[in-house]
Amino acid sequence: MSIHHIRVTINGKLYEGDVEARTLLVHWLRDSLRLTGTHIGCDTSSCGACTILVDGKAVKSCTMLAVQADGRELLTVEGLEQNGKLHPLQEGFHVEHALQCGYCTPGMMMAALALLKRNPDPSEQEIREGISGNLCRCTGYVNIVKAIQYAAQKLREPQPEQVPAGSGGGGE
């Protein structure tokens, strides 16, 4: 079984480590790096709780090997907040009461972020499609949709401070 030395930029910071080929990316993030904001909700790649951005594209990090992330740029939920200020998505989830147990929330926000990067002004239908790979067992989605609409509007307004560079935007 091969062991690989990988170098990965996560939330703007460089991480290095040795991983077994079979280590799933989500396990490396959670167990080795202690970035436990990214959750695991299933064994079947269905729930989206583990969604992060890799080179700007959303991925279920339980369905990618850690070794595949070598040399890439990742954004996890821990990277949303900047200098103690919540990201508009986090603010939206708070204001619109878009979580109950909160288990799905990190993945939901990362899928929403990917959607808003591609489509800054999505319709309700487009939001529902955009998060259709992310399951929430609590909220019924209504307030999640509102939270994403809140963030979309806020992100479209001219911002004094920009969303950080290197936050996984811009694609590959």
């Binding site: 079984m1 790649s45 989206g48 969604t51 959303a58 990618m64 090997l65 955009g130 259709s132 790979g133």
Partner: protein, 292 residues
């Protein structure tokens, strides 16, 4: 769950990928989007000794028309098919298919080549490719060979006629004739699920409105993707009126081999194949005659 142990090698060129496959033979598996393979590894339903990662082969990600053929690189992601203006405009049946596969996060990584090479009867691209009469390019140590799609799948689920040292590198689809059209319709229990049943239909008409080519492919109603040959035969030479469409739809349902499972009883699935075939053929006719 955590996959069993394996070695991992990343290929930096098609030639290197093939050399690695040739070296390791049946012990190796190609890793493309990983969205069928990694779940299998996690459930330990597959235990290859070596994974050959082809994700860095950007030269296998393309869609272009040349010499009356659409060429799609095997590593093209579903998200790119779905968003492509060329595909939406000229090959709406392919856009229909890509956008009902899994969910948008999965589609960011899932590849068209992996979808075909996995030969899962529940996957959506095989039916569409059977309807379109696609050809697949397999590249091995001694060069390329062309495999017509109907010779790509075998009689067993999850099996293709690719050799262990061959990479699926390209999918070729005939460019649309003047009066041609197709559609893919999928019935699913919930968003992102595999099909209860799916039907792809593609027709080419001559100037007088007679069918010169008909292709019908069925998803998830048998052990393999199914080409409904007898239904196609009924359509050929016809004027594609509602009566012949209804007859072909009944025939396609007869050619389905559904089994009862969590997605429904076999009879229900067969009935759905009939309904979906009817609707897909009507939409194909409408697109072939200038409609949407």
């Amino acid at each position: 769950m955590i996959p069993g142990p394996f070695d991992y090698q990343v290929a930096s060129s098609v030639a290197e990928a093939i050399a690695l496959l040739d070296q390791h033979g049946a012990d190796a598996k190609v890793l493309a989007g990983g969205h069928s393979l990694i779940p299998l590894l996690r459930f330990r339903l597959a235990s290859p000794a070596v994974l050959v990662d082809i994700n860095r082969l950007r030269d296998l990600e393309y869609m272009q028309e040349a010499d009356g053929t659409l060429h799609i690189g095997a590593l093209t992601r579903e998200v790119d098919l779905e968003a492509s203006d060329l595909i939406r405009r000229r090959y709406p049946i392919l856009a229909d298919t890509a956008r009902v596969i899994a969910d948008p996060v999965v589609r960011n990584w899932a590849t068209i080549g992996g979808n075909l090479a996995h030969a899962d009867p529940a996957n959506d691209h095989p039916a569409t490719m059977l309807a379109l009469g696609a050809q697949l390019v397999a590249t091995g140590p001694t060069g390329q060979r062309l495999i017509p799609i109907e010779q790509f799948f075998t009689d067993s689920s999850f099996e293709t006629t690719l050799q262990p040292n061959e990479l699926l590198t390209e999918i070729r689809i005939p460019a649309p004739a003047e009066r041609s059209g197709g559609a893919y319709l999928k019935l699913e229990r919930k968003v992102g699920d595999y099909a209860i049943a799916g039907v792809a239909a593609y027709v080419v008409l001559d100037g007088a409105g007679h069918v010169t080519y008909a292709g019908i492919g069925l998803t998830n109603v048998g052990p393999t993707p199914i080409k409904a040959r007898a239904a196609e035969q009924l359509l050929r030479g016809s004027t594609l009126d509602d009566a012949v469409i209804a007859q072909a739809a009944r025939q396609a349902a007869a050619e389905a081999q559904p089994v009862s499972d969590l997605r429904g009883p076999a009879d229900y699935k067969r009935a759905m194949v009939e309904t979906l075939t009817m609707r897909a053929l009507r939409q194909a006719r409408s697109r072939a005659t200038g409609g949407a």
